[in-house]
């Protein structure tokens, strides 16, 4: 069987959280659940005669993002009109960028087990987001079968940056990790909240495969509107399987736009791309070219801090890559650096119990958290979890949790263990018959009897010993 190599390129849309919209002075509601059509004006409703005025902040932030992606900043960028017909596009065209985008030719470093992977950035350009259409009377809010549709123009005109990568991504997991790292970069630049589930970060994937050794590209398909990191990886994986199977059967792949259905784990046809859309691009005559001044570029460069990728590499000298990546892309690495103690232990707690508790790392007292983590084996698990949950409070002190110690003394535990064995005859029999999983249940019973204060490791050891008798 031939070995197939995935060839994946990503197109990412990021909504900028500027105060106002891209081309008018309407408040950029940015994700807020506002009443529909309350953030509109004649400009973003495309009334006759209205003209766009570009948002300076959006241009600056796009430049800042471009610099973080290692891009060239165009000395004279152009806006173009991109035409298509849909009620979410009131002018009948979207103001976007075409052949001279603000940012181009960059690269983004993704740390991996096998060293740095460089994902090429073709371009990052600035445009306006479309409005939202809502369909009623059909199934699941889809347009097919709907009786009527309404348009909410609050989102229309939100500044939107489109980032296009080279087809350098080689696996579904790499795509997911790239996207998570890119998201963290955008969040740290302070230009977007970049939340996939809310649509302020959106990802499309161009997917094709080729036989190992082939240098050209085969026909690609486009996976549209994937709305979680997991689905990015799952969707691409499903599409890779489909393409491989097709080629193995001797079939061809058609150029299509696909939709990933997470419920079924399969891709479905959205529309055929046999006839390429004709957007009739031409330079927007209502706007003059954008010429970013050098002082502005310098100021933006100064605002770009150490990039998340570099921080992962730095942390990797202390802890495993996946932990380092997890800390950085979850925004917990700064806290990690502040918390004293065993590096692996701190990282593990931050990525597990601390993450599960959903605490904002920002205001945490690192010294106190360090004390808690250091003592985690000597205090009861429930007490530890309770303490972690409280660690975000301003007056958190580890002291009051450290007093409660776990029961490690066998003489104290044995009577409880004996009681549990006596009370669970059936389970004991099935364990002796070879069902070892039952041990966990018995440990649990002991933990319950001791209100979680027993050391589970010792309980487990004692139980095993007694059951062997």
């Amino acid at each position: 069987m031939a070995r197939w190599e995935p060839v994946i390129g990503l197109e990412i849309h990021v909504q900028l959280k500027t105060r106002t919209k891209m081309f008018c002075r309407c408040e950029n509601v940015y994700l807020a659940r506002e009443e529909r059509n309350t953030r509109t004006c004649p400009i973003c409703l495309a009334h006759p005669g209205t003209l766009p005025v570009p948002n300076k902040k959006a241009i600056e932030w796009t430049v800042k993002l471009g610099l973080a992606l290692g891009c060239q900043i165009a000395p004279r960028a152009l806006f173009h009109r991109k035409h298509y017909w849909y009620p979410d596009l009131p002018k009948g065209y979207q103001i976007s960028q075409y052949d001279v985008p603000l940012c181009s030719e960059g690269s983004f470093v993704l740390p991996t087990e096998d060293g740095d992977r460089e994902i090429g950035i073709v371009r990052a350009h600035l445009e306006e987001d479309a409005a939202r259409t809502e369909h009623f009377g059909g199934v699941g809010g889809r347009i097919a079968g709907a009786e009527h549709s309404l348009v909410d123009f609050n989102r229309g005109g939100t500044p939107l940056v489109e980032i296009v990568t080279r087809p350098d991504v080689r696996s579904p997991d790499e795509a997911r990790r790239f996207l998570q790292l890119l998201r963290q970069t955008v969040v740290e630049l302070g230009i977007s909240d970049a939340e996939m589930e809310k649509g302020s970060l959106r990802c499309d994937a161009n997917v094709s495969i080729r036989k190992a050794g082939e240098t050209g590209f085969r026909t690609k398909t486009e996976l549209k509107n994937i709305n979680s990191f997991k689905f990015v990886a799952d969707g691409i994986a499903a599409e890779l399987v489909r393409q491989e199977a097709a080629y193995e059967r001797g079939d061809e792949i058609a150029q299509e736009t696909l939709h990933y259905d997470p419920g079924r784990g399969t891709v479905a046809l959205l529309r055929s791309k046999e006839y390429a859309d004709d957007y009739r691009y031409f330079p927007e005559p209502d706007l003059v070219p954008v010429e970013p001044p050098q002082e502005m570029i310098d100021a933006m460069r100064a605002e770009v801090g150490e990039l998340p990728g570099a921080r992962i590499r730095r942390l990797e000298t202390e802890i495993a890559l996946d932990l380092a990546e997890g800390l950085v892309t979850s925004g917990r690495d700064a806290l990690y650096a502040r918390v004293p103690g065993d590096r692996r232990a701190v990282a593990n707690v931050l990525m597990n119990q601390f993450a599960a508790a959903g605490i904002d790392p920002e205001g945490v007292n690192a010294e106190e958290l360090g004390k808690l983590i250091e003592a985690r084996d000597s205090i009861p698990r429930t007490t530890f979890d309770e303490a972690i949950a409280a660690s975000g409070n301003g007056d958190f002190s580890a002291e009051r949790y450290l007093g409660e110690t776990v029961i490690t003394d066998a003489s104290e535990l044995d009577p409880v263990i004996d009681r549990v064995i006596a009370a669970n005859e059936a389970q004991v029999l099935s364990f002796k018959a070879g069902k070892e999983g039952v041990l966990g249940y018995l440990v649990g019973q002991v933990m319950r009897e001791t209100q979680g204060k027993a050391n589970p490791k010792i309980v487990s050891e004692r139980l095993l010993e007694k059951l062997k008798d």
């Binding site: 005669g49 035409h83 017909w85 004709d278 009739r280 031409f282 209502d286």
Partner: protein, 469 residues
């Protein structure tokens, strides 16, 4: 008794200033004249009749006026009442000019006779069987017919200069970028300019002074390099006037028109101007075809917003989204916009863009360069404004190409973004002939100065012969 036929805007301002008439009396006089003559002239689409402290004004019906219908002569905007003022309307309001009404025009300013208005043509006050020119024909008919002291028009290919010429008035097409397009129903964004249509050059300068200047709502506007001067000079000493051969000898220029223009040029020499021949070898041959790619291409994009979704006409028929678009636009647009949308859509299509729109923009650069070369030797250029005097209603209505030739002499300098002033210079067969003065960018003060001196020497009577008391 106020003689609105004879009264200039400057005269009217004098009456108000000296308190010889109140704003109310002034408006009343124009409303009476409208009542008396507009059934014959059909200069207005909507009469408002506001009163105020200043000289009342008529706006071409593509000048967006808050609370006052603005149709751009199209069925598709029937019933549309804007919620905002265009910048020029706002500036007139700030200057205290009450709105008399909105004037008739070729639909979306596409035409040279007002016969393309969805609401029927306007008639020339000099001969009601003839057209007043277009597309700002309603504004010209209103001023020449004594139904408004002055008016705003818009000029894309000659839509101010040509009707001014055909109605014996003064019309300025300003330098591109000196008057805001914010709130002007767009036809071809890179060419559209608002300008005054008046009885005298001084009136023209007074109104230009009110509307001109940078507008933060229109990114393509600039600060005027010099303040607007109201002309006083009575001679042309020190001014070099070039006669471009191609603009003065083009096929289709009526002998009576040439004769009057030559007499005016001779008079200019008597007034002290230095007159010589010059050449614009390719501007006249290529100007018109080039214009008929650029203007329809931009129009096809600008008119995409009329989709029946948010405002204006919407088909009463039932159906899906495509049916809504198709029927609304089929029923809402007249033949000329449809023709230009088709040409423009084709010119912007993938694979044709470079050959058509792209090539036309290159030719535009050549036209600019040719004019710049001529201005190395001359301060102003001169030619007839229109090849013909006012033609009969219906004469060219069925032949778009013949109609397009009306703008043969105004289009080249428009393509170069240059200002042009048309002043009446005599009669041919009892109908006014217009003289076109073209200057370099931002030469409005010079145009006014030269126009004023010539106007005084020519002693043209702007009151139509048949209406003189």
């Amino acid at each position: 008794m106020i003689d609105t036929l004879r009264l200039t805007a400057e005269d009217a301002a004098g009456l108000l200033e000296r308190k010889e008439a109140s704003g109310q009396e002034l408006t009343r006089a124009y409303l009476d004249a409208i009542e008396q003559r507009d059934s014959e002239l059909h200069a207005y689409l909507h009469v408002v009749g506001e009163t105020g402290d200043g000289v009342p004004i008529a706006h071409k019906d593509l000048v967006t006026t808050k609370g006052i219908p603005t149709t751009a002569g199209s069925r598709i905007l029937e019933g549309y009442i804007p919620v905002f003022d265009s910048t020029v309307a706002a500036r007139c309001k700030e200057a205290g000019l009450p709105v008399l009404g909105k004037t008739n025009m070729d639909e979306f300013a596409m035409g040279s006779s007002t016969e393309n208005s969805a609401y029927g043509p306007s008639h020339n006050p000099w001969d009601p069987e003839r057209v007043p020119g277009g597309s700002s024909g309603g504004s010209a008919a209103a001023v020449a017919g004594g139904l408004a002291p002055w008016a705003l028009g818009s000029d894309t290919g000659g839509s101010i200069k040509q009707p001014a010429s055909l109605c014996g008035l003064v019309g300025l097409r300003p330098t591109y970028g000196t008057v805001s397009r914010y709130g002007i129903v767009a036809f071809a964004s890179s060419l559209d300019q608002i300008g005054p249509i008046t009885k005298t050059v001084r009136d023209n300068a007074l109104l230009y002074k009110i509307v001109a200047g940078r507008d933060p709502c229109d990114s393509t506007t600039v600060d005027l390099p010099q303040a607007v001067e109201i002309p006083e000079a009575e001679d042309l000493r020190g001014i070099r006037i070039g006669i471009p051969k191609e603009l003065n000898e083009a096929e289709g220029i009526e002998p009576g028109v040439s004769e009057q223009v030559q007499k005016a040029i001779a008079l200019a020499e008597e007034l002290g101007a230095e007159v010589g021949e010059t050449t614009l070898p390719r501007s006249v041959d290529y100007g018109l075809p080039c214009y008929y790619l650029v203007a329809p291409a931009e129009a096809s994009s600008n008119l995409a917003r009329y989709d029946g979704v948010r405002y204006g006409y919407r088909t009463p028929g039932d159906g899906d989204l495509t049916a809504l678009y198709e029927r609304t636009r089929w029923e809402g647009f007249g033949a000329e916009p449809k023709r230009r949308i088709l040409i423009g859509t084709y010119a912007l299509s993938a694979g044709y863009f470079e050959a058509y729109y792209g090539q036309a923009q290159k030719v535009r650069t050549i036209i600019s360069q040719e004019h710049a070369a001529a201005f190395e030797d001359y301060d102003l250029l001169v030619s007839p404004t229109s090849p013909t005097v006012a033609f009969k209603i219906g004469e060219k209505a069925e032949n778009p190409l013949a109609m397009y030739l009306s703008d043969l002499l105004t289009i080249p300098s428009n393509m170069a973004g240059l200002p042009g002033l048309s002043i009446p210079c005599g009669l041919s067969d009892g109908l006014p002939v217009g003289l076109q003065l073209i200057g370099p960018q931002f030469s409005e003060n010079l145009l006014f100065r030269a126009g004023h001196a010539l106007e005084r020497a020519l002693e043209f009577d702007f009151v139509p012969e048949r209406l003189r008391g």
